[in-house]
Symmetry: none
Subunit: 133 residues, 4 copies
């Protein structure tokens, strides 16, 4: 797989929403392609409205730097080497919930961004999405 299909993206999102239901949280899940363009977005009704943008920014951040958003956050704090990187690219999000999607050959083919719960819950659901790959 070198290109993420719409159907695969929908399958990943479904897996995330199922895992979120088990946690009793309502999530926004965004999936972008290799170049950062939105491929799929879904919001459980009544999920936090502010998280529509967050989910998309997390996915964008993860693909732009090909790393989990939480990993970026570890080096972008005031005492880190890339403090303030969130200013770039129209606004990045550097806490947990964004993960690159890697194919079986190790190529980054997209990213998922989850928002709606705590940062820890968001990460857990993002992982649930990837597990469906």
């Amino acid at each position: 797989m070198t290109t993420l299909s719409m159907d695969t993206a929908a399958r990943l999102a479904d897996a995330g929403h199922k895992a979120a239901a088990a946690l009793d949280v309502r999530m926004n899940i965004a999936i972008v392609d290799q170049a950062g363009h939105l491929l799929h977005f879904s919001r459980k009704e009544d999920a936090l409205l502010g998280c529509i943008d967050l989910a998309q920014r997390k996915a964008k951040t993860a693909i732009l730097f090909r790393m989990p958003t939480a990993a970026l956050g570890e080096i972008s704090r005031p005492d880190g080497p890339i403090y303030g990187i969130e200013w770039s690219n129209g606004g990045l999000i550097s806490f947990g919930g964004g993960l690159p999607i890697t194919d079986t050959e190790g190529r980054v083919v997209g990213a998922v961004g989850v928002s709606g719960g705590t940062a820890d819950q968001d990460v857990e659901i993002a992982r649930a999405c990837l597990a469906a790959l």
Copy 2:
């Protein structure tokens, strides 16, 4: 139905993509809720990248004024009574492809925006989405 659910939105989008496949066009389909917030978005791989934004703007335009985008376009041309309305609300789209979604009691509960083909094709697919309601 007074609220559009995520599952209903996904069903509408699926119907649209199936109809698009029959036309051999690749579509971006956005569905927003009653308040204009994105509920569901899906892009067939290889659909035109410029239509990611267009689909969302069409859905937004349709819900903001509770009318088809093409109907807005008829009165927003240079000789129309609301010429230039596209400047408002961060940018509207006033050609075909955006339609309000109405429940069985006639209440507007959301809107769909379709982009990827000609304006006529976009309208046809938006109608196919609504037919799945």
Copy 3:
């Protein structure tokens, strides 16, 4: 060729600037990849400053809709079927000077945007870029 390399982009730009020198105009030349991300930009010193943005927008417009910007302009005028499309995608440019770049198998692999002269000159230079492919 399925991916446009930095070196190829530089070669195309050089060809454009040489052709521009023959016309005695000073150009801004932007080249984006298949996904619309900037790959190469070069501005002849003393070229019009307002054309830095125009060149990049033309290249972006051409790749987002996989067509020459002038072709988009023909259908986006007040009496055209997609009037007002320039509102989308953060601002499009729909007059001449943006051209898709197609590989030998007919796949669109990027786009070039030229700005600095008249629209006709911009188109001529964009063609000169493509001729160097």
Copy 4:
């Protein structure tokens, strides 16, 4: 030299990309003129997409304050005298990778911004660009 030419900018960028190849990193290199306007940009294929914007912002930051971006960062941290300056000018970047370009008479004639590796690597490549002056 009081004005940075397109050809000189291209030469500086080439030197940077050669040095980056020796480090086995893929870089985005932006060069702006004395007024902060983009003169040259080049991205090695497969370089991180998030660094397209970063490279340009670093160059912009370096020319706006006529100092290395890392030097600005030393005084813009939470305990520094100009904390929060990154909010200004549409978003600045205050970690390493942006350097002013100075002519033989000591006048600042432009700036280079490099992004794609670690901040240390970015600084090293920015210096390699200047060494080609």
